[in-house]
Symmetry: D2
Subunit: 412 residues, 4 copies
């Protein structure tokens, strides 16, 4: 369905070329300051037209809050969000070669198989435009809450384009999880630093330059290329994730693979970690540094964990539940399916022929995917957090147990 | 929550050491032949004790149908499934070093952080035992329906253990998706062939031997190692997957990352595909081979697609919707956290010390994960299929449209 | 939450005085003709200002489809619906006596208790304005499908206002279910007939006149009065309703009691039926009149039941499942809480005082509730219908059973 | 589906004559003392055989906890519950007149229409036996939490059988909501008092005697009769109920109408209240009596409302949200469909004939329905409560607002 989340629930509408795209966000905590200004920055980061290597389509993408706030304060009721589609093209429909051919590796054909009706935009909801409201705008609301209530920080950045890697896998480090430089980076990287490496958003000048050149080469050849985005979530409370089916990494994977053009997801040490012996891969526990309640600017009732791990191959999640260490994961994006080159393929009517795509397209979606990955991460974390806070709140009102079983001291 | 699926819904219960583990399967189509004999084989394939390189714990794992069938026929009502826990160990609780230490990279600590109560089994629901009823037994029911109604075949096999790969990535083939040998294998591999390569379940004798030796080495060193399982789904109907959040690859990723010890998921060309140019990665359409309705042993109303793709980098899914080509994906499993070696770590009370784990454990979970991956795949596919069949059925009763828009001919 | 339905899912947003109210309708079958003209009539029937006995607030209530259709045909993707709020009054906030007092029997106080934030409209989402998009507009889409695919007819009408009854309960007929005149009425009544009895919508001239006078009296006294609406659903397919928790009467009750100002729900013989002996209350089966497939203008695959009941105390539902007979139920509406009379009550700050409400209000909501009841009925029926059609479709593809158990012949 | 609730979620299985009936309860707060002894009393209250006017079927109905607790403490993981069916009768199947006829007003025929398979028990899941685990046992767990954490008290009792009423409607009091005696009763009635009026459970000796005689008369005539159960919920926290579709009265109505044999639901003043003028029906606010935090034996953070209402026609719910006053509602139960008298009806094969039912049956289900109504009420309240506590908990961690909008002082 077009709904994400159980406690913080986003429901979306909108095709590429209809009147507007939008969403309804249900479950936003009441009493939080919120205006369009809190949402717009991430939408702007997602916009095309930020450099010579992204699509020139010039959308304005102004979000408009329909409901759920008054005088800039959330009411606790559903927040309606709407973004006008300024570039509707329904009139093109029916006249073009592109209407004869399902575009290879695009969603045109599967949408027709699924719905039995061909939308003029081909893939209906599969366009990247779908990500604007339901993902980026809704995610910005989630992020605001996470930051204000728990100091959660979510930062994504480009880690590879084609075969250019920020941290190339090696025999020593089949996974970046064992690489101290990587661990140092995810402790401190912020969005400002990431955006200082536009257009590619890979936080290393040398690698960034190579990536930019690579994308330009593919653009010039009317071809396209993929890559990966890595995302870190810092200050995530412990206890998030709902076994056994809604483990935190499972819902993160769900969220990430729902982003258009994604091909893979890795949590923590990921696929490389499968090559590391258990004796090295295991994360031993150590005592966590003490921070007195309230001294971190958070509400005094926000409890910090007493243990942490020495290494972090787990990526901040153990048994499907957050352990307080930075959560990090990597998402793979395929080369965009729309390319300028002529392609031998077949029409809807099973006739072989040559398709030459026209129009606007990105040679690489990876840099623009960065805020989308952050937004989906925010939606996952807030949903798991509200579930866990409900549990903790329910438990806190029970009479204390009489010592028959070891229980969590700070929760007694 | 402990529930998976919307239309074919599995709800589970059970810790490692309680009275029984079980599940309720709601949404099983009525009128299908079903007895315990349909379920037991996959449960047996998951059982430990199948060779010298798996854990000697000898569980019988007999499933018992509580409800929802009569005279071996499904009634359409919920099917209760129960498997007794024959090896309960609650009495060990409180006496052991293991009770002082949260096991590194295990779920002991995060479960305590989440629930505030320490179960005697440590990680509560995180044990591999959780997979028996809710995943393998429920999945077997799903598989039976998929096979009988649509001829769907789901086969998983080991593709790597440590750094031993069935299809090692190379400069030519950064992804096995472009490797003709791989494509040929997934066209024909079946479970019998996979099991002929026990104990590792990698269908290549030479690679299998190397993997077996590798696991034995890790076992002898009281260490552990990870690996990957690849799964193919053949004869999957087109049109499955619910945009925009429940794309088929998203729900597959969710399902797979909910399996204990998983670290990554790749659909089709996966992470390697991110390095392939779009001009190669795109899958051109070709006319599908014609099969007259009913001649494949299926119900005459089962419609086959008229197009297919020449290559299959998409892994059978485009725009989040199945396109009729084989769906394949790979899942990464970490090295098991329980190892015999002594580990320097910290107690619940923040005291540094040395933990020496006792007892039964696998040096590598990959071979036993094979039927679990298949089962979760079946749960994903049947849920998406019931959603899509509901849509098609609803649509089929509408009066025909009067040609104002191109519509799918076979669905008119 | 703000979501209704699982298969045909409506999600709503909007307070009384925000920018717009609207909803997203997910699960609309693709390939159905649909424009605003299909939706507007029911919205107009709900509008105030239709006579001297309804509120003079003059809202235009024009619905605008945002997405999910192209060229007047549904795409199968979510349909965004929006209705502008033309009469926003946020600026009144903070200046009025009404801001000091929670209005008695209104939602002002409970909304503040729930959300901790006071919206300028007091009861936030509790206003009747909430019903426009999420109920009436969405219901109109559901109705269109039900009518086109199954010939379903849904008609509601006023059955009592205050102590004026269309069918007064008596010793002979403690329930109208045993009254032949009532049964005859629900067999044939349509919306045109109902609206010919505006402003009260009770299809009997004499009773209608008495009701109209009664409402006028209450209006003149600055008081208000309640009443009941009865709704009939004809041509509903058999088999709808999902035991054991989502029985059809249970979801109807849920839907009806979610309408503002409702106090009760009765299915079939209702509370009066509790006084009727089982020997009379039971509905014996009789052979149903034969209608050749397709001759009723419906798709040939629409199957008609072979049995029906001689009486209909069950109200068309047995064991929580529709039996093909007309479904009918009654909903009670309380007297509107906003009255012109001065009321002794207490401020938010616990100070006793006198509240005099200003502004627009209905002395009786019953006549305008008629289309809302119809709309919610449509949402319930389509959701149950899509669930059942999914089951039937799934079942129809299984191989036939070999006679070990009596099975439904027409479904074999 | 067979699932009830979102936060405290009950999923059930079991037909009348299968191996066992049971359920999985997910979302039980961890750290609560719980054993079978907490559950058994309500199950015993539901059992047949408690007097000469209930069915002699002698079921033992012993519940067995499968999982989710250890040493009598909840772990926070799903609780599996199982009750063996000791009286399985599958072997009777196929030999009886009853197999030729769908029983009038029973679920035999609609189950066959729905599933296309005829279970030997006829109505499959429609039997009263379904209520044992998923309703009564799960409800007992919910009740324990509500009582321990909030002092919630839920008490139901018989208010009418046939035309014998505990509070007969009158011109003065068309609804018992305006009757001071009724209001006094619901302030103090408890289960012990109710059970002192066995077998009918109507707390007034004179009325109880008349009811008992009435039921005996119907039993002797091999007939049956219906009646009503009224339920009160005291000490329910304010703020429960989720607008706009999951208003508290809507989910209560859903829950009650899902109980077998129910025909109607009224909240507060109910249908009678529709006849009361708004000026009388409105509930003015008054200052609530002060109870210092913690002095009522509850956790100090349990907040009591500062206002209450002078009258209670609302039945403790306004705008779909609990207001702290006693919640009360009435549920109508039809005369049981199984009667000893011969009935003229029609076979599955459309042949007219006479059905004479054999076996065990109640002439009136009302007294045994009392604990079922209480249990479903508990499931509704705990689900709404966990949702609201999640919201309050989420809100409490936000930084305070700077006075731009009136906000709830005790929640700041």
């Amino acid at each position: 369905m077009s709904t994400f989340g159980n406690h913080f629930r986003v429901t979306t509408y909108g095709e590429s070329h209809c009147l507007s795209v939008g969403c309804i966000v249900d479950g936003v905590p009441p009493g939080m300051a919120l205006t369009e200004d809190d949402i717009q920055p991430q939408m702007t980061r997602r916009r095309p037209g930020q450099s010579a290597i992204t699509t020139p389509r010039n959308e304005k993408d102004r979000v408009e809050i329909q409901s759920g706030t008054e005088f800039g304060i959330t009411l606790g009721t559903p927040i309606g969000l709407k973004v006008m589609n300024e570039n509707q093209r329904k009139q093109d429909y029916g006249n073009q070669t592109m209407d004869l051919y399902p575009r290879p590796s695009h969603a045109d054909w599967t949408y027709l198989e699924k719905y039995g009706v061909k939308a003029s935009s081909g893939g209906g909801r599969s366009s990247a435009r779908e990500t604007i409201a339901g993902r980026v705008a809704a995610g910005a609301i989630a992020e605001k809450y996470l930051r204000e209530a728990f100091g959660v920080e979510i930062v994504a950045f480009t880690t590879s384009i084609g075969n250019e890697f920020l941290f190339p896998p090696s025999a020593t480090h089949p996974t970046c999880a064992t690489n101290p430089e990587f661990l140092k980076l995810i402790e401190s990287i912020d969005r400002k630093a990431v955006d200082s490496f536009l257009p590619v958003r890979a936080p290393n000048q040398e690698v960034s330059d190579r990536m930019e050149k690579l994308v330009a080469d593919f653009r010039d050849r009317q071809d396209s290329i993929g890559g990966t985005v890595t995302c870190v979530i810092r200050n995530c409370p412990t206890g998030l994730g709902e076994p056994c089916f809604d483990k935190l990494e499972a819902t993160l994977a769900h969220a990430m693979l729902s982003i258009p053009a994604t091909k893979g997801f890795e949590i923590g040490s990921g696929f490389g970690g499968c090559q590391v012996p258990g004796s090295i891969h295991n994360d031993p526990f150590i005592k966590a540094p003490a921070v007195p309640a309230g001294q971190n600017g958070l509400h005094a009732s926000v409890r910090l964990p007493r243990l942490t791990t020495k290494t972090n191959n787990s990526g901040g999640i153990q048994g499907g539940i957050s352990n307080g260490a930075p959560i990090y994961f990597t998402v793979g994006f395929k080369p965009p399916a729309t390319i300028g080159q002529a392609q031998n393929t077949t029409t809807y009517d099973e006739t072989e022929g040559v398709l030459e795509a026209k129009g606007r397209h990105d040679p690489c979606v990876v840099p623009r995917a960065v805020p989308i990955v952050e937004s989906m991460a925010a939606l996952v974390i807030i949903d798991a957090l509200l579930a866990q806070k409900a549990r903790e709140s329910a438990r806190s009102l029970l009479p204390p147990l009489k010592g028959v079983i070891p229980v969590h001291q700070t929760q007694q």
